[in-house]
Amino acid sequence: MGMLDLAAANLLSPMVLFFALGFLAAIARSDLTIPEQIAKGMALYLMLSIGFKGGVEVHKSGVDAKMLGAAAAGIVLSALIPLIGYALLRATSRLSAIDAAAVSAHYGSISIVTFVAATETVRIAGLSFEGYLIAIAAIMETPAILTALLLARRAMPERKGEPLGALLHEIGFNGSIVMLVGSFIIGAITGPEGMKMISPFIIDPFRGVLCLFLLDMGLVAGRGLREGGRLLSPGVVLFGLYMPLISASLAAISCLLLGLSSGGTALMITLAASASYIAVPAAMRLALPEARPAIYLTLSLAVTFPFNLTLGLPLYLWLASKVSGG
C-alpha cells in the first residue's frame, strides 16, 4: 500500500473520525462531554487490553536478544530526544529554559494512546508486531523526565540538591504504568489459556471502546486548543509538528540495527514520535511546577497528538516498510 493509500485509509477510519468529531464539538463549544470517571475507566480498560495481549505474545515467542536491544534503544531515544527538543525550542522560540525543559520531556516520553491507536493501524494493515514492545513503551516513559529535570536544574541552581526519590516513585507507580506492566506480566504468565478466558472482554469491545476514548481525547484536545492555543507561538506550534518527525527518523535508524518486523518498527517509530499527555504532565506538576502546563499540555495534546493520529501513523507505517523492507 502506498503512502497516500495508507493516509486515506487512516483518515477515514472510525478511530480518527471519532477523534475529529470530539475535536470539532469542543471547538464549536458543544456541551458534549465524557465524565472523568468514564474516561479513566476506558483508559484502564485500554491499558489492560493492550498490556495483556502483549504479554500473551511474549509467552508464545519468549524473550530474546532483540527485546534487550529494543529496550536499550528505547532508553537511549527517550533520554536523547529531550536534549534535541530543548536545544531546538531554545533556538526557535522564546520559551524559558524551564518551559522548554518541560516541553522536551513530553516529546522524549511516549503517548500510550497514540501507541494503542498505532497497534490498530498496524493490525488493519495486516501486520503483526513483537508483543514485548508494550514493555518498551513503559520503559520509555521515565528517562525523558530525568533528562528534562537535569536541563531545568541547570537553569535553577537552587533546586539542584532536591532529592528525586519521591518523584521516581510517583512516576514508576503511576496508575497507567502499573496497569500496563501488570497486565503485561499477567498475560505473559497465563498465555493463550488466559487469553481464551477473557478474550470476550479484552478483544471484542476493544475497537468500540477505543473509538469512544478517542472521541473523549478529541474533546479534551479541542478544549485545550480553545483555551490554551493563544499561548502557543508559531515557533512552538511548528515544534509540535516537526519534532515527531525528527524523533521518528532517529527511531527508524535504531530499528535498522534492531531488525524488528515491519509492524514492530512502525510501533517503535510511533513510540519515539509520540508525546506524553498523561504521565509526564503529572510528573511535571510535581517536579517543575514553575513550567506552564497550558503550554506543554496544549502542545502535546492539541497539536502533536492530532498530527500523529491523522498523518503521523500512516507516515510511520510507510517509513517502517522502507526500513524493514516489508
Binding site: 462531554t33 465524557i34 465524565p35 472523568e36 474516561a39 479513566k40 483508559a43 519521591a166 510517583e170 497507567s176 473523549d216 481525547m217 474533546l219 479534551v220 478544549r223 483555551e227 490554551g228 499527555y277 498523561i278 504521565a279 504532565p281 503529572a282 510528573a283 511535571m284 506538576r285 510535581l286 511546577p289 514553575e290 506552564r292 502546563p293 497550558a294 499540555l297
Partner: protein, 103 residues
C-alpha cells in the same frame, strides 16, 4: 449544647500534589481531613474542567481539615512547604464544632 471554636482550613490544589499534601497534613498532626473532587473553575492560570481527563494534570481537588487554633501556624507551614510552587488556594475560617476533643 457546648460548642468549641476551631479553625477550618480549605485547600484547593492540583490533583498530582494530593499525596504530598496528605503526608504533610499527617506530619503536622492534623487528626483528619476530607478530600472533595471539584468540577471546573477558572483562575490565574486559566479555565479548567475535570470532564474527560485521564491524567491527574489539569484536575483540582479540595481538601478540608478542622484543627485547633493553637496548631494552625504549624499546619500552615507544612501546607505551604507543599503548596508554595503549585497551583492552588488556601483559606482559613472560624467554625464551631460539637465534639471539640476530636480536633
Amino acid at each position: 449544647m457546648d460548642m468549641h471554636r476551631k479553625k477550618r482550613i480549605e485547600i484547593i490544589l492540583e490533583a498530582p500534589a494530593m499525596n504530598r499534601l496528605s503526608t504533610a497534613l499527617e506530619a503536622a498532626g492534623v487528626t483528619g481531613y476530607t478530600v472533595l473532587p471539584v468540577l471546573a473553575g477558572k483562575g490565574k492560570t486559566g479555565a479548567w474542567t475535570r470532564d474527560g481527563l485521564v491524567g491527574g494534570a489539569g484536575a483540582m481537588v479540595c481538601v478540608i481539615c478542622i484543627t485547633d487554633p493553637a496548631r494552625v501556624d504549624a499546619v500552615l507551614e507544612r501546607i505551604m512547604a507543599v503548596l508554595s510552587r503549585q497551583i492552588g488556594l488556601v483559606t482559613i475560617g472560624d467554625v464551631d464544632v460539637v465534639r471539640g476533643e476530636r480536633f
